[in-house]
Symmetry: C2
């Protein structure tokens, strides 16, 4: 039985981690929730269906080091300041920020893919949500056919920008329906009825950080620097669940029906690929699901016998963040 802390427990990801720990009966003797002064003053506690009222408290290092495992779901600044201090003190830290994802000595883990990298480590990074969702489909393909080129265009939900993004889309739609003007702060432009090909800051190569995160993280997780990856990350007016249109080229000959069969045997993946019955991945069906939906699997025209197109949708708060972190913790304590 373990002592668990969640830092950022009232955020979109933190609150899902809390729900998952309770719902999946994580073996806990203690569960403590850390939040900001403002939130503590405002709400004081979090109600959980399984465990009832749970008090919120301010993060205090001397208290946090008493935990077996701490989930950190705040921001890069917090992670940069505290994660290594906690892990150096012997706590297992599972960090959802991008702060340590590219450090060679910090494993970047999707438990279904590279859990062995987490063994014996005190600080473990959770991947970017798009990376996690896309790799659930691509990793089994890579193992069998070896990826050569990957081209990704994303359809990312407003909640990828946290509660502020989610609220801004909902409020904006309400204003439009009521004939009122739409304002924006969480997003650079108004998102209602729009798509915005800009997520996170632009980097020197004209790609955004979000796009480069996908490129770097896929390479690190599948442990293959040779695969060539391009990503275009686009925000769409969807509340929850990210989707991606993916085109691949592989080293070995590939075909759609073999891949459908392969993915249907993979944990964490639902093959939703029955066009005759209008079944394919969509945010509407992927939301609140543990598994990533994969479909529209078809031989493509650009890479002959070595090419496939596919479409994925996955709940980015669950599979892309909270569930990934909780499964890592479950496997560590098992």
């Amino acid at each position: 039985m373990h002592s668990i802390g969640i830092i950022g427990a009232t955020g979109l990801v933190g609150s899902e981690i809390l729900k998952l720990l309770c719902k999946r009966n994580f073996p806990m003797v203690e569960l403590r929730l850390y939040s900001t002064e403002t939130t503590i003053k405002k709400q004081g506690f979090v109600y959980d269906e399984v465990r009832g009222n749970l008090p919120l408290e301010l993060f205090v290092y001397d208290e946090a080091i008493k935990h077996t495992i701490v989930f950190v779901a705040v921001n890069n600044e917090f992670s940069s300041e505290w994660c290594k201090k906690l892990s150096d003190a012997g706590v297992i830290v599972i960090d959802n920020s991008s702060q340590f994802r590219y450090d060679v000595d910090v494993p970047l883990v999707i438990p279904e893919i590279n859990m062995q990298k987490a063994r014996g480590c005190k600080l473990i990074s959770n991947p970017n949500c798009t990376t996690a969702i896309v790799l659930m489909a691509l990793h089994p393909i890579h193992k069998q056919y070896k990826l050569k080129r990957v081209i990704i265009s994303t359809y990312q939900a407003a909640s990828g920008a946290g509660a502020a993004g989610l609220d801004e889309l909902k409020t904006g739609m309400k204003h439009i329906v009521n004939g009122e003007p739409v304002t924006n702060h969480a997003f650079v432009h108004p998102l209602p009825y729009n798509v915005i090909p800009h997520i996170d800051a632009f980097t020197e190569n004209s790609y955004t950080k979000e796009e480069m995160k996908v490129v770097w993280e896929i390479k690190k997780i599948i442990d293959d620097c040779d695969v060539k990856i391009s990503c275009t990350a686009v925000r769409v007016p969807v509340l929850r669940s990210h989707s991606a249109s993916v085109t691949i080229e592989t080293e070995r000959e590939i075909n759609a029906s073999d891949v459908r069969e392969l993915l249907s045997r993979c944990s964490g993946v639902d093959v939703v690929d029955n066009p005759a019955n209008n079944l394919y991945p969509m945010p509407l069906t992927a939301t609140n699901k543990y598994n990533v939906e994969v479909g529209r699997i078809r031989e493509n025209y650009v890479f002959g016998k070595f090419g496939l197109d596919l479409f994925v949708s996955g709940d980015q708060i669950l599979r892309g963040a909270a569930l990934n972190a909780v499964i890592i913790a479950e496997q560590i304590v098992r």
Copy 2:
């Protein structure tokens, strides 16, 4: 001066053709608007800012053959029955349906690209809206660098499915805001806060007709069967303007700044590519514009010195349909 007919004058495309003809001072001695019995009974006439009230009438072949040019914006069934009869009778027919697009003896025309194909022809096909928008950016690149591979993922607006699609998204959003259940008929699944990777019927190769239209039409318009094209067509909750994320490989070495310079000199294209000022193509800015917005132009990672990624947004009712047809007519009578 010419006698003009618009068949389907109250539809989304037909009504834009009407507006454009009036606004751009098309040289007309006569303008007649054809619609269905239901619409005629319901509204009787169309009000145009320039020409005032214009009566609606039922299509009668013997009347329609008196026109110099007839625009047809109804559906494949109507086009199949009437377009060839009208063009055989000497009328110049510009058809917006997909009925004749793949006939070897019917030119498929984007005036900025292959207007010479329309010369002397009585029946001319207007391309699919996504094809038209994407090719405004790709054709100049093809001429200079020769396209080898093209990978397209689309973000298509509800109005691509006509007035019914547009209304269904607006009504659905209103219901969501008011906490009421959402229904769907125009789309196979509810579109509000969703993305649907399914436009038009599925074909035997697991691609949709919409996706294959883009493939076939690009090849026909640029007159190059060797270029390899894959498309994933996705409906997004946007009212108007289609966008596309495009990855290309070219025969000749290519770079972003040369392409930005090349496209900035092309008619029908606006280079909107200034990340430092958060400027890139979006439906919000592309709507009601004659030109297609092209941006996010960057060297990609999958095709080395021969690869580019870019993003386009264009008003699919204007540039993707009505404006394309009207410019064809303008160039014919010039």
